[in-house]
């Protein structure tokens, strides 16, 4: 009898449920969708039980021998809880939403299979399981993206997704092979332990490069982000599952192997650079998108970039916090996207927005920095000193908060509004630093601490803070320049995502006629 964790029971349970839909793939498959929700709830229960198991028994490896093992640790249980929870929400949503679809049963089966694959992925204890988890997730997601196989746009999106995902799979597989060969073990824990022992062998260096490449592809980072911004061709629950579950796989990969990745300063710098660039790029493009789901997709590109930046800075626990927070937010955003008509309508109702001038923006940044100093000092006194990276990250986030304050400081804004936005800003800052403390407490033990910054790290930190600061100032002054004729061209290029997708289409034949089978 193999040693098992409660969480390791989830994937087989879900696959069993999924297989029941094989016999009822069509319209209105009786009570099976209700049963599917019950099974998802059971899976969530298993994740909670695994949490108890972890707290009582501590982290360990479970499963069928060294090559096919699963981890029971803070990270896998966190992700297991997240994926099961979002999975339950999505399956419950789909019960009504998909009612009457010609391939209703098939949809539920595929959704359950996708959740099962991601659950395997997030608790992979060995390299082969990791590779299998990625491959299975990609296969199932492709089927979901092709849920309406006759739509040429769906065919294009699925083709694009498959190319990028499979390239990522190859990178993971090659990295796994190199690690197995280099360290003589397929066990992730033993690989990590060996990586700490002494300098990385060449094969491991190559593996880290491949891992970074895989993470960049799978988180839809610049410049191959195009697959993520075009997959609204599948029903809304797929988008929710993709943006709140599957897209995290790249981050989980890095966080799981954090001890190894952090050994390579070059890899960390690459992550920080690509991540920071993607974050700013995605966030700017998002500003120009008028279709709500498309804007959400660009937002995901940006948020995943930010998560990579956190990884690159060695703030692993914060990256995991970002994954959790973003997943919950984005799942809700997609599932409630039908309300966008009312949301947009409500924006116009209270009259014109008060535009902050230069003075107000300067005051807001000053105020935000004071706020930051106060809050950060407070937390430091309680929790001990912070790393340079964490302080820098806090500054970047506080630039964002300054935007909220600036809106309230606009000359035309009434005093009551100013009070409300300052209160909200304070609340946001406290919540942010509070969650940070929690994240460090919960996951900090299991993850490496941020490296002591050398010249390269300092350069990256300064670059990141400056670029985020610059964009933050531009954003606060936004109404003053957004409609200036000189920026019209910039807006067009950004709305098109700087054409990277079009170039990818051109190179991959995405502009060709598709067969309307």
């Amino acid at each position: 009898m193999p040693d098992l964790s409660f969480l390791s029971l989830s994937p087989p349970l879900l696959l069993l449920m999924a297989s029941l839909f094989l016999r009822r793939p069509g319209c209105r498959p009786g009570h099976l969708p209700a049963l599917a929700e019950a099974v998802m709830l059971a899976s969530l229960g298993l994740a909670l039980a695994a949490l108890a198991q972890l707290m009582l028994g501590g982290p360990r490896l479970v499963g069928l021998g060294q090559a096919l093992s699963l981890r029971l640790d803070a990270i896998s249980v966190t992700m297991g809880l997240l994926v099961s929870f979002v999975g339950w929400i999505v399956v419950r949503f789909s019960r009504r939403y998909m009612d009457g679809e010609a391939r209703e049963g098939a949809f539920h089966g595929l959704t359950l299979a996708a959740i099962a694959s991601v659950l395997v992925l997030v608790q992979a204890g060995s390299l082969p399981v990791l590779v299998l988890g990625f491959a299975a997730t990609g296969l199932v997601l492709r089927q979901l993206l092709l849920f309406y196989p006759d739509r040429p746009e769906a065919q294009r999106a699925a083709a694009k997704f498959t190319r990028v995902w499979v390239a990522g799979d190859l990178a993971v597989a090659m990295a796994a092979a190199l690690l197995w060969a280099g360290f003589g073990t397929a066990d992730i824990g033993m690989v990590l332990a060996a990586a700490q022992a002494d300098a990385l062998p060449l094969a491991a260096h190559a593996a880290v490069v491949l891992l970074v490449l895989a993470a960049v592809l799978k988180t839809a980072a610049f410049p191959l982000h195009g697959w993520l911004t075009e997959v609204m061709e599948a029903p809304t629950p797929v988008s929710a599952l993709l943006h709140a579950g599957i897209i995290n796989s790249g981050g989980v990969l890095l966080i799981t192997l954090a001890g190894l990745v952090q050994q390579s300063a070059g890899a960390m710098a690459a992550l920080a650079l690509i991540g920071g660039l993607t974050a700013l790029f995605g966030a700017l493009v998002m500003l120009t998108q008028s279709a709500v789901k498309t804007a959400f997709a660009w937002s995901t590109v940006a948020q995943m970039g930010f998560m990579l930046l956190q990884c690159g800075l060695g703030l692993w626990a914060l990256a995991l916090l970002h994954i959790v927070a973003h997943s919950l937010y984005k799942a809700h955003a997609f599932l409630s996207a039908g309300g966008a008509v009312q949301v947009v309508n409500a924006i116009r109702k209270p009259g014109p927005v008060a535009v902050p001038g230069f003075g107000a923006v300067a005051r807001s940044f000053g105020l935000a920095l004071v706020l930051y100093a106060a809050v950060a000092t407070g937390f430091s006194l309680v929790m001990g000193p912070k790393s340079a990276q964490a302080i820098a990250l806090g500054a970047m986030l506080i630039f964002g908060v300054s935007y909220l304050i600036a809106q309230g400081l606009a000359d035309a804004a009434p005093g009551a509004l100013t009070r409300r936005t300052v209160q909200a800003s304070l609340g946001a800052a406290l919540a942010y630093f509070g969650f940070q403390v929690v994240a460090q407490a919960v996951w900090g033990q299991a993850l490496p601490a941020a490296p002591v910054p050398g010249p390269l790290e300092w350069a990256l930190i300064v670059l990141a803070v400056l670029s985020f600061g610059l964009v933050a100032v531009a954003q606060a002054l936004f109404p003053l320049w957004a409609h200036h004729p000189s920026t019209a061209g910039l807006r067009v290029h950004l709305a098109n995502g700087l054409y990277l997708n079009a170039v990818f289409d051109r190179l991959s034949g995405g502009f060709r006629l598709t067969s309307k089978s």
Binding site: I89, D99, L321, H326, L328, S336, V341, Y403, A428, A488
Partner: protein, 792 residues
């Protein structure tokens, strides 16, 4: 300036511009989703009949306008349509292409008509010749521009406001590199050197594309159809401008944009020039229906005659009632009220119901709490004359607005570039709780309602009396008032549904009927109004109390608004509440049978479920419009398929109310019926697409999937339950209890309304004593119907 003189002589140029205008008028307006109403998709074709329109739209949109013949074959097999219906439809057809006799007609049913194929555009020809999907590339590039240009607040960074569509697009397209990356080299330069006005661009394109005057109209129409809902949105802007006595050029601009594209593609793929000239020649040929289109139109008419025959059987003569009713309840004419009215009347013999358009004749615009914006609450054909405001005192209003503005600032914090990261880290975890709340429907919003709206500036006593008298006469509510008269508007409660306003009251311009009902009830209870009505010959009993209500058409719950204090009526109100609750239960049980997976007790849940694609059926199934005293239809099961308008011609002096009915509610009902018709038979062109992949764009509409063309009309889920259509595609049968001469006299005065009947977009019957007496035939002819075949 060295403007190159146009190659086209002025006289010819004006022909082309007239063709562009005609093509623009052929496009129906699509109202933005925040307040959408049903529009007749054939609004531009009402002067042609179904077969001719099928020929036209077959050419420009590649769509059939009738259900597949297998449907009528099934109806014949089921006995719903018989030989009499087919024969009568055949006889009524005036086309020389019609089958010689019934046997030949029936023989045609077995084979489906060939699916029409639209004449290709240059883009389609170029795609075939160069293996590059130009239509898709253009839809993507154009759709991205249009989404930004028409955005009403989704994106934080929208294009510079204040530019016309053509100028804005030129600014966009001279920068957008997508077409060039796709291979259309030099497109930016082509746009940069394009003429500076839309009209000049149209004329240059006409020249370069070799379009002839004869070909222009359907060629232009073809291109506007190619832009999907975007051209319908632009047509709506023209509609709104004209309602306000102005004009708008966005639709011509879109045509110019589309022509500039084809110009570039023809130059890019010159080998299609020959094929394109053949297409131009085909456009130049007059539009005429094929024999198959004539047959399909006859079969459609036969299906409608079958429905009319079945309906006539239900309308078997009036019920008798006498004495003062214990309670009267006026509902909107909306077909969903029919079920509720029947259920309410079943509660007690003393209950009488009436039907009237849900805006109750008040030409209102409404200023809701917390905003200065006004929202029209009347049919889209009319211009508001009064503003009702729900603003409370200044401090309450201020608090509300500060709250809304703080929420908006938080929303911008969530959306903006750098702050979005801070937002996710600070607020993201809270969304876990929101997910649970929404998944379990714990936070569903009820239908919005505010304080009693007041007419801004107030009304003089004379205005009050005049308005009240006009409304009461229009409602045929002039005598025999009960102690309690309910005025019940309607609205549909739902969650997370972009098409919510389409389920609200169409007569209130896609809003709920709450405001109109409450304003009218207050007006009719007003002491000054009551004092003056007698002078208008209207004698309301002292003890008559008007109370407004709102019928939630998803849950069949009715909320009453006892805005006027009336302690003496406490008992009446309590009793009314009990009746309404019981009626709601009965109506739910009846409606649940039609909704997949529903039971009476679970309907309320559909209103709160954020995943529900079919909260209710809306007006699906609508088939008839009956203007008659309620006694003509009381007690008959009309299955929620009939608009019921109360009308007593004997009390109608000079037939002014008849004229009102035929020119307003009948036209609105025709828009609704034909929208359902168009979305059912031509879903690719006039349907809203698949709800499951809808992507709300700009706050105004939806696109499918990633982007591209705006989808207007009713989504597939609204007209189909997954296994079978939820709407039987029928043109509306209008039945009016009035003398035929009086009806004809009104039609003689209103050409646009008459065209709807003469061209078969509506059927018209005259009733007498609740039974069909005559059928209208084109040319103001009345054909008496025999008792054996009441609808023949």
């Amino acid at each position: 300036m060295f403007l190159k003189p146009l190659q086209i002589p002025a006289a010819k140029a004006s022909h082309f511009l007239r063709a562009a205008e005609a093509a623009a008028r052929a496009i129906p307006p699509a109202f933005p989703l925040e307040a959408t109403i049903a529009v007749n998709p054939f609004l531009g074709q009402t002067t042609e009949d179904l077969a001719q329109t099928a020929a036209r739209l077959g050419r420009v949109a590649g769509t059939a306008l009738t259900p597949p013949r297998s449907r009528i074959a099934a109806q014949i097999a089921a006995g719903e349509v018989n030989d009499d219906d087919l024969a009568a439809a055949l006889i009524a057809c005036t086309s020389p292409l019609k089958p010689q006799d019934l046997a030949l007609l029936k023989a045609r049913i077995a084979t489906e008509a060939p699916a029409p194929v639209a004449l290709p555009t240059v883009a389609e020809l170029a795609a075939g010749a160069s293996d590059t999907d130009w239509p898709a590339i253009m839809a993507r590039s154009f759709g991205l521009w249009a989404a930004g240009h028409f955005d009403r607040g989704q994106a934080l960074w929208t294009p510079r406001p204040g530019q016309g569509a053509y100028a804005a697009w030129r600014e966009w397209a001279t920068h957008d590199l997508t077409p060039e990356i796709a291979g259309l080299t030099g497109f930016c330069a082509h746009v940069a050197t394009a003429p500076d006005t839309a009209e000049r661009a149209v004329l240059r394109a006409v020249d370069r594309l070799g379009l002839t005057v004869e070909a222009a109209e359907t060629a232009f129409h073809r291109l506007l159809i190619d832009l999907g809902g975007w051209s319908q949105h632009a047509r709506w802007m023209l509609w709104q401008a004209e309602l306000a006595g102005e004009s708008d050029s966005a639709l011509t601009d879109l045509l110019a944009i589309r022509l500039v594209w084809d110009e570039a593609l023809l130059a890019h793929v010159p080998q299609v020039a020959g094929d394109w000239q053949a297409v131009v020649a085909a456009h130049a040929a007059p539009v005429s229906a094929s024999a198959d289109q004539v047959v399909d139109a006859i079969l459609q008419e036969a299906a409608e005659r079958g429905y009319q025959r079945r309906l006539a059987r239900v309308l078997a003569g009036p019920a008798q009632r006498s004495g003062r009713a214990a309670m009267q309840a006026a509902f909107c004419i909306d077909v969903r009220s029919e079920v509720m009215r029947r259920a309410l009347e079943a509660q007690d013999g003393g209950i009488e119901t009436l039907g009237f358009a849900g805006f109750f004749g008040l030409p209102l615009a409404h200023r809701a709490q917390g905003t200065d914006e006004v929202q029209a609450h009347l049919p889209a054909l009319l211009q508001p004359a009064l503003v009702a405001s729900s603003h409370g005192d200044a401090s309450a209003e201020e608090t509300l607005r500060i709250g809304a503005r703080a929420a908006r600032a938080w929303g911008r914090f969530r959306q903006a570039a750098v702050s979005s990261f801070a937002f996710v880290e600070a607020a993201g975890p809270a969304y876990g709780a929101k997910l649970v709340r929404d998944a379990l429907a714990l936070g569903a919003r009820p239908l919005p309602q505010g304080p009693l709206p007041q007419i801004e500036g107030g009304l003089t006593a004379a205005q009050k009396v005049q308005t009240a008298a006009a409304v009461l006469r229009a409602m045929s509510l002039t005598t025999n008032h009960a102690r309690l008269v309910l005025l019940i508007g309607h609205g549909a409660q739902m969650t997370n549904n972009p098409h919510e306003s389409a389920y609200h009251c169409g007569a209130c311009c896609g809003q709920t009927g709450e405001v109109s009902a409450r304003v009218l009830a207050a007006l009719l209870n007003d002491a000054e109004t009551r004092a003056g009505l007698a002078a208008h010959g209207l004698h309301l009993p002292q003890d008559t109390l008007f109370v407004a209500g709102l019928h939630n058409t998803v849950t069949d719950a009715v909320t009453l608004y006892p805005d006027t204090p009336a302690p003496a009526h406490a008992e009446d109100l309590a009793r009314a509440g009990a009746w309404l609750r019981a009626a709601g239960q009965q109506a739910r049980a009846e409606r649940a049978l039609r909704l997949p997976g529903a039971a009476g007790e679970t309907l309320a849940r559909r209103a709160q479920d954020w995943a529900e694609p079919r909260p209710e059926w809306g007006l699906a199934g609508c088939g008839a419009f009956i203007a008659a005293p309620r006694k003509a239809t009381a007690g008959r099961d009309l299955q929620g398929r009939a608009f019921l308008h109360s009308y007593d011609w004997q009390a109608d002096q000079g037939f002014a109310t008849l004229e009102l009915i035929l020119t307003a509610p009948v036209v609105v009902a025709s828009w609704i019926s034909l929208q359902y018709y168009g979305s059912s038979v031509a879903p690719a062109v006039f349907g809203g697409g698949n709800k499951l992949i809808h992507n709300v764009v700009g706050g105004i509409g939806v696109v499918e999937g990633n982007g591209g063309l705006l989808r207007t009309g009713l989504p597939w889920q609204t007209v189909h339950d997954g296994t079978k259509p939820a709407h039987e595609a029928l043109r509306l049968s209008v039945m009016i209890e009035a003398p035929t001469e009086a009806i004809a006299a009104v039609l003689r005065k209103h050409d646009a309304v008459r065209a709807l009947f003469d061209n078969g977009w509506l059927h018209l019957f005259a009733l007498e004593e609740g039974q069909i007496k005559a059928r209208y035939r084109p040319g103001l002819i009345w054909q008496p119907t025999s008792p054996a075949h009441p609808a023949a």
